[in-house]
């Protein structure tokens, strides 16, 4: 409890991070309960096409096909957050395993794994994601996989670095002497000590994943069965001159979500690594 209170005290010092947390919590609430307030199917016609926003029926207006923009945004929140979190979870999982093995065993294994990681970091990641989703047909699964495939190398490098320094510590050597298995040492002894930077980079990664997902959907590579913010903008970009609201509001939703996640990530970084917290803020 004391540790948690201490954490919160440090987190709270970063005003932006507190704002980010409030915004993120609101978006999560919208994603969870929004469909109750807007029970309609986001794909259905909810009024005449091109209704201006701020009307009584359609508060954020309707698009080319008369679909309600507000309903779309509320339902899209689920898709964006779901893909952002699941893809990050997958990337972090793979990154931890790969990085831990490289950092713990070192030597040839490390060389080989790092070459592979470098290879994946050289490939232009968004182009690769587009290729993957296009070839394996767009859908939640292929999008999550593509984002995870282009995101794990950064985690792997981070984890490897942590493991390289931690494995020389006395408590690790003690476990080795006690005859613990490598798996035990990696996951029970070392990993908990390396978790702070992983949490920080994971929170920033969710933000990036949401941006990538929205760009993919914008290009028509979203899941065809799920309303998403990027799809809404992509579908109405040709009428942006006639109906600015069809692109403006979904875009605002993306910016707010990503901004909130970035702010929370910085707050976590300040709170979890007090020594590294930047001055002048």
């Amino acid at each position: 409890m004391a540790a948690l209170r201490d954490f919160w005290r440090r987190y709270r010092r970063n005003k932006g991070a507190v704002v980010g947390l409030v915004v993120l919590a609101s978006i999560l609430l919208v994603a969870a309960f929004g469909p109750v307030i807007y029970p309609g199917n986001p794909w259905d016609m909810a009024g005449a096409p091109f209704q201006s926003p701020f009307g009584a029926e359609n508060p954020l207006g309707t698009d080319t096909l008369g679909r309600d923009v507000a309903t779309g945004i509320v339902h899209g929140a689920r898709v964006s957050l779901l893909i952002g979190f699941v893809a990050t979870l997958a990337a972090v999982g793979v990154g931890i395993c790969v990085g831990a093995v490289a950092g713990y065993f070192g030597g040839r294994v490390d060389d080989l794994i790092m070459r592979l990681t470098e290879f994946f970091q050289t490939i232009p990641s968004f182009v690769f994601a587009v290729v993957l989703v296009a070839i394996f047909t767009p859908g939640i699964g292929s999008i999550v996989t593509a984002i995870a495939v282009v995101s794990w190398p950064a985690v792997a490098r981070l984890v490897r670095g942590e493991f390289l320094t931690l494995r020389t510590r006395e408590f690790v050597q003690a476990s080795v002497v006690l005859g613990r298995s490598a798996r035990h040492i990696i996951f029970v002894e070392i990993l908990p000590n390396a978790i702070s930077p992983i949490i920080v980079s994971a929170s920033l990664m969710v933000a990036t994943a949401i941006l990538v997902e929205s760009s993919l959907s914008f290009l028509g590579l979203g899941d065809p069965n799920m309303m998403s913010w990027g799809y809404m903008i992509g579908a109405s970009r040709s009428v942006v001159r006639l109906a600015w609201w069809t692109s403006f509001f979904p875009g605002l939703a993306i910016v707010l979500t990503v901004l909130a996640l970035n702010l929370v990530g910085e707050g976590l970084s300040d709170a979890l690594n007090p020594r590294l917290s930047r001055e002048g803020r």
Binding site: F119, T122, F126, I135, L211, V240, S247, G251
Partner: protein
């Protein structure tokens, strides 16, 4: 001699990575659901049995996997990236035609974002903790969180539709024949919005990095020594802090070349800019996988080239770099 060896080593590494990407391309075609010949032909060509036969023949798709891989690599190495059934042209021709506009766009954005980002970062670091620092940080945070396509569309709304200052799409005015200077100005006017769209996001990245790097270098011993010697603040900033702080930013900028190229898919789509990004989008729409994989290969090759150039320039500029590493 040591330097030549270093350059040769890096070049070799780049070639190996490029070969790896060719193999990856091959694997993607094999792993894709369905008949690999149909994947190569794209959706439009898949109904043409004669074309499929020809592809099977050329890429040896009825032979063992290793032979297929060999045939594929050999074709790519002889600059045969296949044929776009949809566009009825070799993929290489399409790529060669679309590459220059993308280089113009991404090159402009690279220079602008680096210049603006470093300037803003230095300004923020100099006034760390004051309101102008906060203002720059907020602007950087905003653009860092903004999807490129949205910035582009809002830019079109503001500068083309509402104000009527700039053209919203294409790389040149349609239906007018312009020569010399006028043509350059025309292309330049069309370049402004897409280049700025691509710039703002990366500017935010470099501004944040420069600020952090400046603050880190500022507290180091050699800066304190310079100050103790009585060197003026302006000179400390220019000669001691900035010079050291900017190196990691430039390295990262070189490494991020791939992000600019990835971003160009989205930006060229928004602005109908006739580059390889737009080509990739068209290929996605038409399920023209040969073209898509061609774009992937070319952008990867560009990233490798930029990384190599950064390494080489670095070894010339920074005497501290370890050539053996």
């Amino acid at each position: 001699m040591e330097r030549l060896e270093f350059i040769a080593q890096r070049t070799l590494k780049g070639i190996v990575v490029l070969l790896g990407i060719v193999v990856l391309n091959f694997l993607l075609i094999r792993l894709a659901p369905g008949d690999p010949a149909a994947v190569m032909a794209g959706e439009a060509g898949a109904s043409d049995e004669l074309f499929l036969q020809q592809l099977r023949q050329q890429f040896g798709l009825d032979r063992p996997l290793l032979e297929q891989l060999w045939a594929y690599v050999a074709n790519i190495l002889s600059f045969d990236f296949g044929f776009s059934y949809r566009q009825q042209r070799p993929v290489v021709d399409l790529l060669a035609e679309r590459l220059p506009p993308t280089l113009l766009l991404t090159g402009t954005a690279f220079v602008l974002s680096l210049a603006a980002g470093v300037t803003l970062g230095v300004m923020a670091a100099r006034r760390a903790g004051r309101w102008s620092d906060s203002a720059i940080t907020v602007v950087a945070l905003f653009f860092y969180a903004t999807p490129l396509f949205w910035v582009g569309l809002m830019g079109v709304l503001l500068f083309s539709v509402t104000l009527g200052w700039l053209p919203a799409f294409g790389m040149g005015s349609v239906g007018v024949k312009l020569g010399g200077v006028e043509r350059v100005i025309d292309v330049g006017r069309h370049l402004v919005l897409p280049a700025l769209t691509l710039t703002l996001f990366h500017m935010a990245v470099y501004a944040r990095m420069t600020r952090a790097s400046m603050l880190e270098v500022r507290d180091q011993d050699f800066v304190r020594t310079a100050r103790a010697k009585g060197v003026g603040e302006g000179e400390i900033l220019r000669r001691h802090v900035l010079r050291n702080a900017i190196l990691p930013v430039v390295t990262i900028a070189g490494m991020k070349a791939g992000y600019l190229l990835g971003g160009s898919i989205v930006v060229e789509t928004v602005f109908a800019w006739p580059g390889i990004g737009r080509l990739a989008y068209e290929a996605v729409l038409q399920r023209d996988y040969n073209v898509l994989l061609g774009v992937f290969l070319v952008t990867s090759a560009l990233v490798i080239a930029v990384n190599l150039a950064t390494d080489v320039i670095y070894s010339l500029v920074d005497p501290r770099i370890e050539l053996g590493a």
